[in-house]
């Protein structure tokens, strides 16, 4: 390999960038990284923690390898790995990303005992009857009456929202929070306008007019361009 450098360290004002070559073997790279880092900090004794960003180029790093590299960098004093950037991801991971971003939809009724689970957003054109349940990793939009249970952001997304033409849910869940319908007479709750549910600053699920949604969750708008 001669004197070709596999690890390059660059200093920026945000910390270090560790540029790793993507052509050499992983073991070679690891050894060189250890060696480089040990030379670098003979005298560094200040308490400042400097963040380091790893750039792996076109090399795929598995989870274990990422952990290993983080450990190596961390074992040097006063360095901590901010992020690992690689141009390569697995097809599985890419497909998962697609699933999390796409909106699935059903035209029909979710009846008692039926559970629909999607990783991304979910659009239902129809009702959710009592005993029926929707679980979505993202937002839930219902063009119909929600009488059952809706769980938005079920993998931990606290920004997820639930929107329904008519909200008479038996339960609303967002991320790990839960909200139960008040024990009112069902008939008194009818004739509502369109509503949305989200988690507010006090870590509570609140139900509000649909019109407030553009202010509390501006990220839902992903249309780019002038109106």
């Amino acid at each position: 390999m001669g004197n070709r450098q596999n690890v390059m360290i660059k200093g920026t004002k945000d910390g270090f960038i560790l540029k790793l070559d993507d052509q050499c073997g992983y073991e070679v790279l690891k050894e060189e990284l250890i060696e480089k880092l040990s030379v670098q900090y003979k005298a560094a004794d200040d308490q400042h923690v400097i963040s380091a960003k790893i750039e792996a180029g076109n090399r795929y790093l598995s989870e274990e390898q990422q952990e290993e590299l983080k450990e190596i960098v961390k074992s040097q004093k006063s360095l901590v790995v901010g992020e690992i950037h690689s141009n390569v991801i697995t097809i599985d991971f890419a497909e998962q990303l697609i699933r999390q971003r796409e909106m699935s939809s059903i035209a029909g009724i979710i009846r008692s005992g039926q559970v629909i689970e999607v990783e991304g957003d979910f659009l239902l054109i129809g009702d959710v009857n009592p005993g029926g349940m929707i679980r979505a990793g993202g937002n839930i939009y219902i063009l119909g009456t929600l009488k059952g249970v809706a769980h938005a952001g079920c993998y931990g997304n606290e920004d997820a929202v639930i929107v329904a033409s008519q909200m008479i849910p038996s339960q609303l869940r967002i991320s790990s929070l839960l909200n139960r319908a008040p024990d009112l007479d069902v008939n008194e709750q009818e004739s509502h306008e369109m509503e949305c549910a989200y988690i507010d600053e006090t870590e509570q699920i609140v139900v509000d007019r649909l019109q407030v949604l553009r202010n509390v969750r501006p990220d839902i708008t992903n249309y780019r361009g002038g109106i």
């Binding site: 029909g108 009724i109 009846r111 008692s112 005992g113 039926q114 009702d127 009857n129 009592p130 005993g131 029926g132």
Partner: protein, 266 residues
Amino acid sequence: MGDAIVITSGKGGVGKTTTTANLGTAIAMQGKRVCLIDTDIGLRNLDVVLGLENRIIYDLVDVIEGRCKVHQALVKDKRFDDLLYLLPAAQTSDKTAVDPEQMKELVEQLKQDYDYILIDCPAGIEQGYKNAIAGANKAIVVTTPERSAVRDADRIVGLLEQAEIDPPMLVINRIRNHLMESGDMLDIDEITTHLSIDLLGIVVDDDQVITASNKGEPIAMNPDNKAALAYRNIAKRILGESIPLMSLTEEKKTFFQKLFGFMSKK
């Protein structure tokens, strides 16, 4: 080739067996050949409601296990000249004695000889239910105007939609007029929008239904009872006639005109 219609509800005690017996009787009164199958193995009672209990020789399990031919097990109702037959359930085995494939085969065989096959489904959604719907190509869901019954009906409709069966039709049984008027009971509109399936008919709650089934004479044979008329109307609708829903009271007419509109739309 006949139609096989399963009569189911999910919840017990809403009147599946009574409905099966009366619809079978009413269809036979229209001159069609009808075979009723009781799939409630271990808890048979369709034979009791029809008054045919003491004529049973073989049953459903005997047929499935090949101990007799189908026609040997069929019990003929003598009141209807060669039109109404019953295939009784076994009382000694349980639901696992039969599997859906065998039921399918049996119903296919019966379809050759009968215009209508009505399958009385047991309560629940387990093996007995799966057996009952296996051979059916149509389904009637029976419910009462109670929240619990409607909830279970909703579950059953969901399951039926996943089976290879025509969209199910709804019969609302045991309607108590005064409770519905005072708003203490779910009204018909509420139930049909909630379940959003076609309404086939409504049957009022009537003491005579119970006394008649105790005597083993289905109420549908009674010429001037309101529940009997309701069953006969449902039978006619099954045969393809368009009969308006009967009104429960004079004042409610406009309300029911809405429902007539609903029925004629389909």
